[in-house]
Point group: D2
């Protein structure tokens, strides 16, 4: 299939490479020349502008951009996708943005004659490179079904979440809960350890009890409790604290728009902001435990 | 075995009955005459006072009391257990109290020549009646091993958590994390629903993702998402909000003594206090979701 | 002076009327016909569109709009102010919006040859009608000095806060602190009263001690403590809770952009959101005390 | 007057010295020999035990102790005050403890025939030395009146707060509000500064606006805004963060007993605990601003 791909950063770059490996023809665009060169070397055609990509012979366009402002600019701006692309060409936005913005852009696309789905991912740069991303998809079921074979070239777990914007809703709701359970696990582990518990024993009991959560049984933040998690390698790798902070910003923004309180969610955002202000935003998000116990290793 | 049992309330009463069923001889004491009569009718001997129970021919004493002040009074007071009991008789306290108090009493018992373990339970009145409680035990391994056959008469899952007080530590740490994940799940479910997600679909995706926790996959607070949980029966039954509030009070008290921050834990306590002030303390603790969505049913 | 005035709502309407009373000539625009008719009846000229207002003979334009999206649309949109107005005409935006948006629009105005100041107000609809508003002004000192006589027609306290956007900064910082002190006062008053203090005595002592704040000594939220405040009239009048909620949304948005934690500020926002969700958003913002004591009157 | 004084620490020592200067005869007790020697050198008689002090010819006893456990032990313990002192001798406890404990001890004193008032102080070691403390007094009005001349030997502002325990209530309510306004001021000042405001200008405007509070206009935490406050001398002197943490522990404990939510109060406690865990508990409590801006000076 002839696919246009816009946004070749840490996530978009390896995703596009996987589409090439899957046998698709790609026309790509990014502001970074080196990103374009990498894709060109792998066999992609490069477009000189968004508009040029839009009027090429692509049958589908995928975008992977940093924030809502970029998505709006790329889709809605003068010289942008919708101003140039032919009606009927389907659009997939894999950026993580707030649900309201996703729906606004999808509506504009629909008005332009282009069916659009939102398909944010989880799995990080590792998952992007390995082609094992999870896609949370919002949009019409028929559009989801049509996109499925393409998305399977980049990910393993592709989930239809409901109408337009719902992919973004699931992502922010899940990640907000993830941040809360991670901080909660950090507090419970530190409380227990400071009161004399062996951290491994404590985690073992919690993991078979009602406090059990992914943050405790799969990604425990306390150093030495589990092998192969960021906590066992000084919080390198994984999902960066500043990325979690960004997602919490989206969650509280969506909650504000929906007039829905998220009390622990908002506090989690502030704690990650405090942590980032200590210069630790590049550590894995489980490192938030250092807010509670210093630099215990 | 000849067992003394002090404290025959909603938990202690059925626990003592199960010990009788298991073939033990019981000498019991409580301030409530009707509680004593129930046990007497089932075959227990009643003692006229704590002191009288202590100097009877019991080979082991179990206590199940509401709070640390009662535990201290029963064990340390004039006319209390330690002032009367013979050295060498082992003691088991199944009350849920703060770890520091548990250690203080256990130390006094040791000074008196009595080995003592803390063995708080989870499982509620249903588990007490069915004999399926979980016991989290703090104390010497040898004392744990000795108590095991007795505890198995009242529970199914008996866990050794480490030295004296650690049973209490595990209980408060686990339940604090449980409160946090429950409130977090309530926020995430409401956020998603208010943004247009089908709650069942949302829960289904979260439960296979990184937001997964016991509160979402086993005890989901959103009405209609799961069968057989309090949320499906207007939050009746289960583990009362005011009991969770009590445990959060113990967790923050223990954290204060340990000089350990528990930021989300303290906020969870305040939210359950707010909820209790709305007259809803007798609802199951998953009803905290009503703080976010009114009385949605 | 010939002044253009855009936005004739609850605040803008009375502000424009005061400018007429002060002897200025007004050309006005609003989407509401009845608002236009009120101003026309008072002597203003009505413009059929933003563009028409911009190209009329106005020597200065003032805007008073609900949110940043409206400000951006009115100033930056096709058919908007900047696309139509002559270079050299000064611009005053009295809307309350986030500082970053204020600076973005002011920069666009400067690029267009128009000096612009941000001048958000406090004082509510009462102050707007009485001409006693406080203006917090961001922009060049010379532009502030030039605007001063005009602003004095609508307010009493006109403060220069520094460069462009700083009027908005002061407003969100002050109001965030106000929300925090109000909730803090509510908690302290309720805590004292629930422990047996006479609320008037408690307030009297706090107001001469280190807990003293405007929320306790001028606007006490506890019913019966002060005369002439919303708490003495069932929280009618005053500054609505939903308006405070809006300002807290701006404060946390500005903090997010500045990567600055505002932990209590974010929690205050969530508590006002919770309160609003109980259907109480139209009560004065001191009514937040009802989150703590029900409907005590 | 012949006064017994128990507890000669950082606060009690200078308070006792001031009573000597005021012409009273003192019999004193403390566990510290050097503290006793200091008072003896100044003319006090030293007692060998609490009991000995109680049965000496004292006409009044004042206590100044670190925490509720010490107060209970000194008053209620075997060999303590109540077990030894003659009926009719009035008692003044100036320790800062939770109101419930204060009332419990006062009731025991009343049962023993001794009228007792709680009279916690504010003003710190500086105020204790200078004799300028504020006393917040709970107890019968007649007992307050009788104690007034004595207290005036140690302080300047002596306030009757109502029945027994109310001195403690006022102290915890005021100091909880103080902590909240201090953290709120720190957040507002940092938010404004990070968005480009001159901190002095910002403080100046807030101090004449609705965000005004003692923490902003008398004790501003931002370095360089005010002269003569701890923020201008790297947070030395003043009221230590760990002392504020202790008072917040009392406030949340009192709130728990009263079943009253204190949401911001509990969060303030956790933030001071976090700050203390960073090794900064000995800095003035306004240094909490460093949680937000690092070590800005």
């Amino acid at each position: 299939m002839k696919i246009g791909f816009l946004g070749l950063g840490n996530m978009g770059g390896p995703m596009a490479l996987n589409l090439l490996k899957a046998g698709h023809q790609l026309t790509v665009f990014d502001l970074s020349k080196s990103a374009l060169e990498t894709l060109a070397a792998a066999g992609a055609t490069t477009a000189p502008s968004i508009g040029a990509l839009a009027v090429s012979d692509v049958e589908l366009v995928i975008t992977m951009l940093p924030a809502a402002q970029h998505v709006k600019s790329v889709y809605l701006g003068e010289g942008g996708l919708l101003a140039n692309i032919a009606a009927g060409i389907p659009l997939i936005d894999s950026s993580t943005i707030d649900p309201m913005s996703a729906r606004e852009v999808a509506q504009a696309a629909a008005n332009n004659g282009n069916r659009m789905i939102d398909a944010p991912v989880s799995g990080g740069t590792g998952g992007a490179a390995a082609g094992t991303l999870t896609f949370m998809v919002g949009g019409e079921k028929a559009d989801f079904d049509a996109a499925l074979p393409i998305l399977q070239g980049m990910g393993k777990n592709i989930v239809h979440c409901g109408p337009s914007g719902n992919g973004q809703v699931v992502k922010v709701a899940n990640n907000m809960l993830l941040a809360i359970t991670m901080i909660g696990t950090a507090e419970a582990m530190n409380l227990g350890a400071s009161l004399g518990m062996d951290p491994k024993v404590l985690a073992g009991i919690i993991n078979t009890s009602s406090g059990r959560c992914w943050s405790s049984d799969t990604y425990n933040p306390y150093p030495g409790v589990m092998e192969g998690v960021p906590a066992s390698r000084e919080y390198s790798g994984g999902f960066g604290s500043d990325l979690m902070l960004k997602d919490l910003g989206l969650a509280t923004e969506a909650a504000k728009q929906a007039r829905q309180p998220v009390i622990l969610g908002a506090l989690a955002q502030q704690l990650y902001q405090t942590f980032s202000g200590q210069g630790k935003g590049n550590l894995d998000f489980s490192a938030i435990i250092q807010l509670y116990n210093g630099d215990l290793k």
